[in-house]
């Protein structure tokens, strides 16, 4: 047991995995309706969240409370644009993906410029870009007519190989790549350093601006691709389709064990966090909870997990500096 606890402290994704297993176990005990097949449905819808949440994870890792609140709008806009550009034909798929990629890069660059050049707090900057994008989506909404997804994209988003949703395989590839970037590439180290202590990172010679900008680009590009796949999955686009991803992408990152203060993230944890979150929502739907209550439960879950997860970090910081020990002592 004594050997186990430091291992668990290092591998914080384990908690979300345990959460998944518990909920799944309880569900299969009390209801017959949760078959392996319905679990694959959960996994498929979690996969869309995974793509958005991985991007969010990169932004959160940059630290200083950075969060990308434009993800929801990027998803909605790229869903519309991909439908309009591709127009149900496989020949135009490259063009559509380029357009979607363009949206991602443009929004990511915009966010990065606002945050780094104009030093606007990330949440305000991304909130505002989100609003601007929402208008663009409204306009796109007017020019869309009876959209159909292209067959290939529809297969990627909704098809199965050996009973496994293709989108889940895509999500797994994304998780693996993110894991490699975080753990094995110099960029991952630089990102972590920036998130832990930006000043120290700068003085160590890291170009923190470039590192942070890259994170915003990754986030927007992933959200844009996600939007295109999502529109193919649901076979259409609507204004509010990105909205659930606003809170859930943050929630999945935190649930997965990445630190909300930045500096340490786990892609595997984010994957489990997404599945756990979707599983919770599905459970509530199976239990027949009204939508209002589902919102409440999600809100409470996010705050609760944050409140619990905030603790070890605080302890660590307290040991680090007498000043914060003072903070804790005087309350």
């Amino acid at each position: 047991m004594q050997n186990l606890s430091p291992w668990m402290a290092r591998n914080r994704w384990i908690w979300s995995l345990i959460g998944i297993l518990i909920i799944w176990g309880v569900l299969s005990l009390i209801t017959e309706r949760l078959s392996l097949h319905s679990l694959s449905g959960v996994v498929a819808s979690a996969s869309f969240l995974v793509l958005a949440a991985l991007g969010q994870m990169f932004v959160v890792t940059t630290g200083r409370g950075n969060i990308d609140l434009s993800i929801a709008s990027v998803i909605a806009l790229s869903a519309f644009v991909s439908l309009i550009v591709i127009d149900g034909s496989d020949e135009r798929i490259v063009l559509g993906l380029l357009a979607v990629l363009g949206i991602g890069l443009a929004v990511g660059a915009m966010n990065a410029v606002l945050v780094l050049l104009f030093r606007i707090p990330a949440m305000i900057a991304t909130l505002a870009t989100g609003y601007v994008l929402a208008t663009t989506t409204l306009i796109a909404n007017r020019s869309i007519a009876g959209a159909v997804a292209s067959p290939t994209l529809a297969y990627l988003a909704g098809g199965r190989v050996w009973g496994i949703p293709v989108i889940f395989l895509i999500a797994l590839v994304a998780v693996t790549l993110s894991s490699l970037v975080l753990g094995k590439l110099a960029y991952g180290r630089m990102l972590s350093a920036t998130g832990q202590n930006a000043r120290a990172a700068r003085l160590s010679g890291i170009k923190t601006g470039r590192v942070t900008a890259t994170a915003f680009l990754i986030s927007s590009v992933l959200a844009a691709l996600d939007g295109a796949l999502l529109s193919a999955y649901v076979g259409g686009a609507f204004l509010e389709m990105g909205a659930p991803y606003l809170l859930q992408s943050v929630g999945a990152v935190v649930l997965g064990g990445s630190l909300i203060f930045g500096g340490s993230s786990t892609a595997l944890g984010t994957l489990f966090g997404c599945i756990l979150l979707v599983l919770i929502v599905t459970t509530m739907q199976i239990a027949g909870l009204p939508p209002g209550t589902q919102d409440i439960v999600q809100g409470v879950a996010i705050i609760g997990v944050l409140a619990l997860a905030g603790r070890p970090v605080l302890k660590r910081a307290a040991r680090l500096k007498p000043m914060s020990e003072q903070t804790a002592g005087a309350q």
């Binding site: 601007v132 120290a200 590192v211 935190v254 919102d295 409440i296 439960v297 905030g310 003072q326």
Partner: protein, 829 residues
């Protein structure tokens, strides 16, 4: 050291004044931080009217001991008695210490830069003027009185905003503020003269002597040993957390104290310096050049070459540290230029050195990784191999490479940071006070490493706060007022020469405002422009609307147009108070939405349940603050989560828009005075309430927390209590906003609140508040809210589709922020 516990002060004239009991007696104080013992069984007794000098090198344990004394830190072991009465640590805190008459003037100043001098006096002495109207003038008088008393002829305007004053004046205010306590028994002065000129230092000494004669005790901490010998009656020297020497001033001398503190004497250091005789400064390649305005008296560019150790000296805050950073950021041309690759070692390990989540090896390895391409691969094995020789040279224990960096002592952490710089293998190494808090043996080892760096052909540029370290340098540049005033080479370098050149220049050049401070005129003009911006844009928008349709300006027209502005104003004011604490509330709009729903449904059907529901909602806002601060988690995510809860509750209560307004509520918001637009009156009332809160003592405390929470906490103000109060105030405004929506629309819609969140942030920013906290402006926010409400209407009159509303509002917010940024940047320049 136990002799001190007999509690009879050694001193001269005060002997008869001394009561039976010492003012303070600390006994056996022990405190550890991880592996470091900051204090080990330290005893310290201070009698009435005694002036005790406390000396010791950096990291000797002085600050820890003083934090224990002031209630900021609870020791692991030890006892405390105040005026003979034993105290328990559990109920001893900064507030208690102040009540007992113990006050500290900290080295890092604990004033709030966003408040006026008089308001800062309020924070220290909230009891003196109470909550009566006119409390401000009480504190103006108090501030004036005490500044006059301690520093006659100070010339400080007590209504000036503190952040705009030079550091010397701020230090004077800090001292006078602590001294003003009528209950004062013991005043601890931590490096009080570090930014005072000789005349002000003399005034301070006179004040200390006069107060001591009246029975006030002092603990005087200073690196300037001569000053200690002049002013104190008894001296305690700390070394490595223990009392190394203690005795009356008569038995002390500079040499004696230096020896006790563990510093090597100048002579013995000099004996070690034979290596630089070998090297003259004209060899080597030029790696950095300092020219232009920074080099006034030498009058020529200073060139720094490979193989040299160059010291940057001067009194603290005279530009030497800035120069180091300037060199770090410099390009290969310009006034200050750098012609080689560079790495940086900071002595401020917590803030600028360590990566707290990483192992020692990772902390070292990043030095090599930082310069590489982002897509190159990294591995622990490669790092270990690369770091091995350096680790051996620095005598870091290889078995601890896998431990978390924070588990190492300060000295070893610093070694790891040096290893990081060496791993980067750069031509220039910048050292920023690298031996801060490092024990003596680690220091001398470190000096050897620095000498090696230079011998290997690197250029070492070294800023230190300990003048004795400059004896390790080949060349020393002495700074004063942001310029190099003297260049000392080889044998010219001595502590005395450095001190003399930094002080001489000071007196002749700058008079009373000695230290460098940012220029203030430009910033006040820029600020005024920012302050006027909301008003100008309001008039512009109103004018534009009136030119399209003159009826807009009639009372009825205004009432109609501004109907939606009431809720926005209230929500923006709520957001303003949160932003004042440097947080952002993403749930404020949804919260107004839920109160809108509750008041239009529950309050109508079952008034008592409705009132209970509203009160519960309001209190839960305070609970949010408690969660945020108890757990130190980001407000933005918590309030975002909370917004889902609010929407969920509202949706559960009322799935589709509807409901009605209780009659009394409508009556509250929709009365009529002929000829006066009701909405304007309501908005003015809301604004007045916000102004009153902001101008009250409570408002001052809240703004203080937004600016310098650590200082307020040290001053005994509870962070948690004021966080909760802040959120309750915000919640109150948002709640009234929800009620106003019900009364004015006579219906409710849970989705009506959401859009107000972004608008409220926009109004707060546009109104001239700083997103970083501390600076708020209720009138600006009110006017900005009106402007934003009008923009929607203006777009309508201009025939622009409402689809563009969000884009215009989001774009406007960004535009304002970008403009603000541009102004701020000019201020910085």
């Amino acid at each position: 050291m136990t002799a001190a516990m007999k509690a009879v002060p050694f001193s001269r004239a005060q002997a008869e004044l001394a009561g039976n009991e010492p003012v303070v007696a600390l006994r056996g104080i022990t405190k550890s931080y991880g592996p470091t013992l900051a204090n080990q069984a330290v005893d310290l007794t201070v009698g009435r009217g005694e002036v005790v000098g406390l000396v010791g090198g950096n990291g000797a344990g002085k600050s820890t001991l003083m934090r224990v004394l002031s209630g900021g830190t609870t020791p692991d072991a030890g006892e405390l008695a105040i005026a003979g009465k034993p105290r328990t640590w559990n109920d001893y805190n900064p507030g208690e210490a102040q009540t007992a008459g113990i006050r500290i003037v900290h080295q890092e100043l604990s004033l709030c830069g966003n408040l006026t001098v008089a308001e800062n006096f309020y924070l220290e002495r909230p009891d003196a003027g109470g909550l009566r109207p006119g409390w401000r003038s009480t504190y103006r008088d108090l501030a004036r009185q005490w500044l006059d008393l301690v520093f006659p002829g100070h010339g400080i305007n007590v209504d000036a905003e503190l952040g705009l004053l030079p550091i010397g004046q701020r230090q004077m205010i800090e001292i006078a503020r602590a001294a003003s306590d009528p209950n004062l028994r013991l005043l601890v002065l931590d490096e009080p003269t570090s930014s005072l000129d000789p005349e002000r230092s003399r005034q301070l000494r006179a004040f200390i002597m006069a107060s001591a004669a009246k029975g006030v005790a002092f603990i005087f901490i200073s690196h300037k040993l001569k000053e200690i010998l002049e002013i104190t009656s008894r001296i305690v020297a700390l070394r490595n957390g223990r009392v190394a020497w203690e005795g009356s001033v008569e038995g002390a001398s500079v040499e004696r104290l230096v020896e006790a503190m563990g510093g090597e004497s100048e002579a013995s250091l000099r004996a070690n310096r034979n290596r630089q005789e070998v090297r003259s400064s004209s060899e080597g390649r030029v790696l950095a050049r300092i020219g232009g305005a920074g080099t006034a008296p030498p009058g020529r560019a200073v060139e720094l070459r490979s193989g040299e150790i160059v010291g940057l000296a001067g009194l603290e805050g005279n530009g030497q540290r800035d120069m180091l950073r300037h060199i770090f950021g410099a390009g290969d041309s310009g006034e200050v230029s750098r012609l080689g690759s560079v790495s940086f070692v900071s002595g401020d390990r917590q803030r600028e050195g360590v990566f707290p989540l990483w192992s020692v090896l990772e902390n070292i390895g990043i030095g090599r990784i930082a310069g590489r391409s982002g897509v190159s691969s990294v591995s622990a094995e490669a790092e270990r191999t690369a770091a091995a020789p350096t680790i051996e040279r620095l005598r870091l224990d290889p078995s601890r490479l896998g431990s978390n960096i924070l588990e190492l002592s300060g000295g070893n952490q610093q070694k790891a940071l040096v290893a990081r710089a060496l791993a980067a293998d750069t031509e220039i190494i910048l050292l920023d006070d690298p031996t801060r808090g490092v024990d003596v043996s680690a220091k001398s080892e470190f000096y050897g490493v620095v000498a090696d760096m230079a011998s290997a052909g690197r250029l070492v540029i070294w800023h230190s706060t300990e003048d004795v370290e400059f004896l390790e340098c080949d060349r020393v540049l002495v700074f004063s007022g942001g310029r190099i005033v003297r260049e000392l080479v080889g044998q010219e370098i001595s502590e005395e020469a450095i001190v003399n050149s930094s002080f001489l220049q000071e007196v002749s050049s700058a008079g009373s405002s000695q230290a460098v401070s940012k220029p203030v005129q430009g910033s006040s003009l820029a600020r005024r422009i920012i302050g006027l911006m909301p008003f100008v844009s309001f008039l512009t928008v109103l004018g534009a609307m009136a030119s399209v349709n003159p009826l807009v300006l009639s009372p009825f027209g205004l009432d109609l147009l501004l109907g939606s502005a009431v809720a926005l104003t209230l929500i923006a004011l709520a957001q303003m108070f949160i932003v004042g604490g440097s947080e952002i509330d993403l749930g404020v709009g949804a919260f107004a939405g839920v109160t809108n729903v509750v008041s239009a449904t529950l309050l109508v059907d079952n008034p008592s349940l409705g009132v209970a529901g509203l009160i519960a909602a309001w209190l839960s806002y305070g609970l949010l603050a408690a969660i945020i601060h108890a757990r130190k988690i980001p407000a933005i995510v918590v309030t975002l989560g909370a917004s889902f809860i609010w929407v969920g509750i509202g949706y559960s209560l009322q799935p589709t828009p509807g409901g009605s307004s209780p009659e009394w509520l409508s009556a509250l918001f929709t009365w009529q005075i002929p000829g006066v637009p009701t909405t304007i009156v309501l908005i003015v009332i809301a604004g007045c309430v916000a102004v009153l809160i902001d101008r009250s003592p409570l408002g001052v405390v809240l703004r203080g927390f937004g600016n310098n929470p650590a200082a307020l906490e040290r001053g005994g103000w509870s962070v948690m209590r004021y966080a909760v109060i802040r959120y309750l105030i915000a919640g109150g405004f948002a709640l009234v906003a929800g009620l106003s929506l019900t009364a004015i629309n006579t219906a409710s819609d849970i989705n009506a609140g959401g859009p107000f969140t972004l608008l409220s942030v926009a109004a707060v920013v546009m109104g001239g508040c700083a997103l970083l906290g501390g600076i708020i402006s209720p009138t600006g926010v009110v006017v900005a809210s009106l402007t934003l409400s009008l923009i929607g209407a203006l777009l309508g009159t201009l025939g622009v589709s409402t689809d563009y509303n969000a884009a215009v509002q989001g774009g406007l917010l960004l535009l304002i922020l970008v403009m603000r940024m541009a102004v701020d940047r000019r201020e910085d320049a």
